[in-house]
């Protein structure tokens, strides 16, 4: 089955051994989200220091796609500046795993892929509201998260 457009070595590997899997006690940001279509749930934990993502973990149940995307997303944002993270978009994430085609081919599975990103955006949204008092950025994040799929 080499050449499977979804179940690449990389995705299977991540689904077995997800990166950054676990909880952060008393995280600055804790976002819970669910995919109402399949029952998958994830919890995303972020700590922020000096406007940077100093620590990130995720926890939950999900399919291989969801687990791989959570893994890659957390890897990609770790240590990043909040301003960069806030601009992070779905193409960056999907292309890292070669999953851009899902946008067109699978309206159902794309939701598995982007659940992580949606949680991230909603998670830092609250942070922008409460801590940064930056309602413009917050508004954008909220819109983006809602329109992701």
């Amino acid at each position: 089955m080499s050449g499977d457009p979804i179940y690449t070595e990389m995705i299977i590997e991540y689904s077995r051994n997800p990166s950054n899997f676990g909880k952060i006690a008393d995280a600055h940001i804790h976002q819970h989200d669910a995919n109402p279509l399949c029952g998958d749930t994830i919890d995303l934990y972020l700590n922020i220091e000096d406007n940077k993502i100093s620590e990130v973990k995720f926890d939950g149940h999900g399919c291989a796609i969801c687990m791989a995307c959570c893994s890659v997303l957390t890897e990609m944002i770790k240590g990043k500046n909040l301003d960069d993270v806030k601009k992070f978009d779905k193409d960056e994430l999907l292309s890292e795993l070669g999953l851009q085609h899902l946008v067109k081919t699978s309206p159902v599975r794309i939701k598995c892929a982007l659940l992580s990103l949606k949680s991230l955006k909603f998670g830092i949204y609250s942070y922008f509201v409460d801590k940064m008092k930056d309602s413009e950025s917050a508004g954008n994040l909220n819109e983006e998260a809602a329109n992701l799929y």
């Binding site: 669910a34 109402p36 309206p107 159902v108 809602a146």
Partner: protein, 414 residues
Amino acid sequence: MQSTADAFEDLRKDFPVLNRRVRDNKKLVYFDNAATTQKPNQVIDAISDYYQNYNSNIHRAVHALAEESTEAFENTRDIVAKFLNVEDSREIIFVRGTTEGINLVAYAWGRDNVKEGDIIVTTEYEHHSNIVPWQLLTQEKKAQLKYIDIDDNGELMLDQLDDYLSTGKVKLVTFSHMSNVLGTISPVEEIVSKCKNAGVKVLIDAAQSVPHMKVNLNEIGCDFFVFSGHKMLGPTGVGVLWAKKEVLEKMSPFLGGGDMIREVHKYETTWNDLPYKFEAGTPNIADVIGFAKAIEYLEKIGMDNIRNHELELTKYALEEMKKIPGLTLYGTKEPEKRGGVISFNFNSVHPHDVGTIIDKDGVAIRSGHHCAQVLMEKLNVAATNRASFYIYNTKEEIDVLIAALQNVAKVFKL
């Protein structure tokens, strides 16, 4: 499109039922369009195609058929949104029809927002589906239901609205965009701006307007907007409730069940995003998909062309009917102020009898109270006859109606 009358004549071929012969081999003249319209092959075929080729439940499964049906279903939402000039298609909620849509608002918004002593304003020319849900709600909440009366021309007396609004107790003003009996087109702009000034929510029952004229929801400024697919070439069993996202998000859910939830636990549940929060259970998938074809069909003709075609028929019919002795016409005399709906009575002959007698000549009109008994009480009649037109109707068919009415006079020896 080619030039109008011909073009409209031409589209009759898309409607198989128009070839029907009824009773003694009479050609069908279908003038009961305000009740429900006929369907073009494009719509009928889309439904068959769905069942023959990709029938599947939607949203949740990952298999091929489910992806195809989900896409066709959600595509309809986008088509409806574009048709109404709504930017965010998540504001489009599929219901069975206008009746379910209004009840949804009465339950999910009304139960939380209407309190003892509050006022809900409706009008004398409403369909029962825009009266009874509010009677139920106001009775339950010990709130008050008030009516905007109509004048002798069949138009709303808007100064009464001012009086109601000035009490500061009005929570909702709800009215039909076009009366299904008189054809009167309501002064939407004026009503909405009065209500907005008073900070009052507005619901528009658009069952009779959306099928017949261009509607731009981005401009109207109402809060709730409801209509039925089957009155605009679409299948039975599909309707639309539109409301602003901010309003929908604050509303409690209506029906509980599959698809409207995010997570269900034994003792608590969180709600899904819009629009799914209000679409519990397996929806009427096939018919929603068929409905898309109805909208595409209407858009191809052009809503302004449709309005003009009906206006022409209405003018012609009014002219011809005025010539019939003993015929009483209801509603405004100015055709521009009304849609293609003409209610009338004929001497003292009961509408039921008129309906039965002209049915023998193949003419299908509606005779009765048209689910508008409050209006009937106002007009001081038990019932009226109603002829209502749509895109496939012709002046020749109006001539058949006129001749059939002459026949009623003969039967009743008038």
